[in-house]
């Protein structure tokens, strides 16, 4: 009898002990969209955080690409099974912002947790994307990039061009493409992320509106405006190049990156974050240039970002929110940000990280890696260059992609295609406005 009692007692003790030790650590979930090299670097950050303290554990899970991650998060939210932190790409920002009650705003989260957090430490061109018009930061910028022009210097030489030639305007790019085509280069030009580079960033860079109401920042009743003469001129030029075989269309996302890395494409417009892959795979000398512009508009404005931010979803306990706050504060630390910036080619999203990187001599030994940052911060941002905040924007991008395909394959003029994209996109904006009144 005694032994049985002893066993029971010790079991109970053990259970209590096991219980308390399991409870001691608060576990939070993070859903993200990074695989491959980026996934490894993300895992490294999480491990570093988990090892740095003993109160919280972060568990990260990859949920597919950006769209799939957002959709998984939304579906889980409806079912009440959502994670603490959700990675949302910039296109989904407006959808999240409109869903008041689905998230805990960043400033609130940090305040409630008593976490020291300085929203002004972020580069304003980046944090502006995730901040309300009255200056409240809603989500934490994680990875941000901006489009640049990638140059295959070996192919430039083959085309009889000076690989260091001036490629700052689209006219000069056009001349280079003519020369390359004449020398029999199969793919003089290619691009990734058509809408993002050639309409969204194009608008900001030329300081013209992509949509009314400060590109949607000032209200849900915004209307698309990317069918101006300047836009049409550019898309028509791309269409002409496609017809003449100077520009090859490889797909809507970053498919063309493969052709560039394989050394087939001479000039490519792609995110600055293409750096990690190009550096690893390119067997040729490559260069990074600023995104070209049209000389007609004086000096270019600034480009805008693509990438994601981290949202703290609502409906979690105070303890878990504290853990979330601690983790997000950890991610904004200068050493973490600087390492991320140098490893990936994403921008340093805090000013301190950019400074630290400069001080370390990284830009000197990796020429061109600072261009993206310069390009984004070269001017004071305007109404047209702050970014975009449009509902249903993933869907609208799909419409833009479709219409642009019509221009590239020669079935539509740029005027017809962009007018149609604006009209179809506006229908979705009105629907979004109605659903989020």
């Amino acid at each position: 009898m005694k032994t049985i009692k002893a066993i029971i007692a010790s079991l109970a003790l053990f259970a209590m002990f096991a219980g308390t030790s399991a409870q001691a650590k608060v576990e939070i979930q993070w859903w993200h969209a990074f695989g491959g090299r980026l996934g490894e670097l993300l895992d490294e950050q999480v491990n570093k955080f988990n090892a740095s303290q003993d109160k919280y554990t972060v568990v990260h899970t990859r949920k597919g690409n950006y769209s799939e991650t957002l959709n998984a998060g939304i579906a889980a939210f409806r079912a009440g099974q959502h994670p603490n932190i959700l990675m949302v790409f910039e296109v989904g920002t407006a959808s999240l912002m409109a869903a008041k009650g689905a998230y805990v705003p960043m400033y609130q989260l940090m305040k409630d947790a008593g976490q020291r957090f300085n929203p002004n430490g972020f580069v304003s061109a980046v944090s502006g994307y995730y901040t309300t018009t009255d200056g409240k930061m809603l989500s934490m910028p994680y990875n941000s990039s901006t489009p640049v022009l990638w140059v295959n210097k070996d192919l430039m030489k083959k085309a009889g061009l000076d690989p260091e030639m001036d490629l700052s305007t689209w006219k000069r790019v056009g001349n280079a493409l003519d020369a390359a085509k004449a020398k029999g280069i199969d793919m003089p030009f290619c691009t990734c992320w058509h809408s993002w580079v050639h309409l969204e960033n194009f608008s900001a860079y030329h300081n013209i509106p992509f949509a009314s109401k400060s590109n949607g920042f000032a209200g849900l009743d915004t209307e698309l405006a990317f069918n101006s003469p300047v836009h049409i001129k550019h898309i028509q030029t791309l269409g002409k190049w496609a017809q003449e075989g100077k520009f090859k269309y490889m797909g809507r996302r970053n498919e063309a990156g493969k052709n560039f890395r394989a050394g087939e494409c001479m000039l490519m417009t792609e995110s600055s974050a293409g750096y990690a892959g190009i550096k690893k795979e390119a067997k040729f000398e490559f260069g990074i240039r600023h995104l070209p512009y049209y000389g007609a508009t004086e000096a270019p404005q600034n480009t805008i970002i693509g990438g994601s931010s981290l949202w703290a979803l609502s409906g979690k306990s105070k303890e878990e929110n504290k853990a979330t706050a601690a983790f997000l504060a950890f991610l904004s630390r200068t050493d973490i940000q600087a390492k991320w910036h140098q490893d990936t080619g994403y921008l340093g999203v805090t000013t301190a990280a950019a400074k630290a990187t400069k001080k370390s001599g990284f830009y000197k030994s990796n020429p061109g890696t600072d261009l993206a940052g310069i390009q984004m911060m070269r001017n004071k941002v305007t109404q047209n260059s702050k970014g975009l905040r449009l509902g249903s924007f993933d869907q609208i991008r799909g419409i833009i992609d479709e219409e642009m395909e019509g221009v590239y394959n020669g079935t539509k003029t740029a005027q017809v295609a962009l007018d149609s994209a604006v009209k179809r996109g506006n229908v979705l904006l009105r629907r979004f406005e109605r659903a989020n009144k």
């Binding site: 939304i74 869903a99 490889m250 052709n259 394989a262 869907q395 799909g398 479709e402 229908v427 989020n436």
Partner: protein, 293 residues
Amino acid sequence: MEKRVFFKGWWLPALLVAPQLLISFVFFFYPSGQAIWNSLFLPDPFGLKTEFVGLDNFRFLLSDPYYLASFKTTIIFSTAVSVSSMALGLYLAALADRLIKGAGVYQTLLIWPYAIAPAIAGVLWLFMFNGNIGLASYYLKALGYEWNHTLKGDQAMFLVILASSWGRISYNFLFFLAGLQAIPKSIIEAAAIDGASFWKRFGTIVIPLLSPITFFLLVVNIVYAFFDTFGVIHTITSGGPEQSTTILVYKLFSDGFVSQDLGSSAAQSVILLVLVGILTVIQFKYIERKVHY
């Protein structure tokens, strides 16, 4: 000589059909009811608030020229997939039926593609026709034909039809082969003795005797092309270029699960439900009359 069993009372028959009724309710009536109900609302993606909009979702859809165009795309796609996979399935079955040696090996190999999931089949074909690394696109280029299905709608359509039909050929082959083997040899031999040629025998004896199976396959293949092919389309074209491969069910998927427009997506599923209902009625009312059992 029909055999009929009558039950006394009602509880035993009720009990016997209950499992089937339960399954139908859980997997058909309940979700369909949900779809119809949801099609009358405009919810926000997170389910935080919703607004009753009556038939506005349907009005929104039917005023969208791309939605109407997707009906045409669906008809072209479904017809091409059903006809090509059934014709090839029948052709291969007729050949395999005449085999004397190694019939089992051929049959097994021909059935194999059916075991491959649509999405994976899509990736396989995409790999062969990929503009960067695809073998097929490489040889086409060598022949002087520019292959770029990301830009050319007709090529994209051809590729999704090819990938969707491929696995289906096996399925149709299997049924046609079984059908062919069920036809009594004596009838065919009698016709042969009377001097009927192969084609004459095939046209006047085999085809009519296969008609129940052909009818069954027609229904099943159209349902397949309507609903099960979205994995193929998602992996190969995502509905592009310019929505040239966006069939109805793909649009439903992308509006609902990519764009989070659940109201429109529900309305689309109601329209599809009605459409398939009509299609099935037509098939049974008009085509089945021509079928000899």
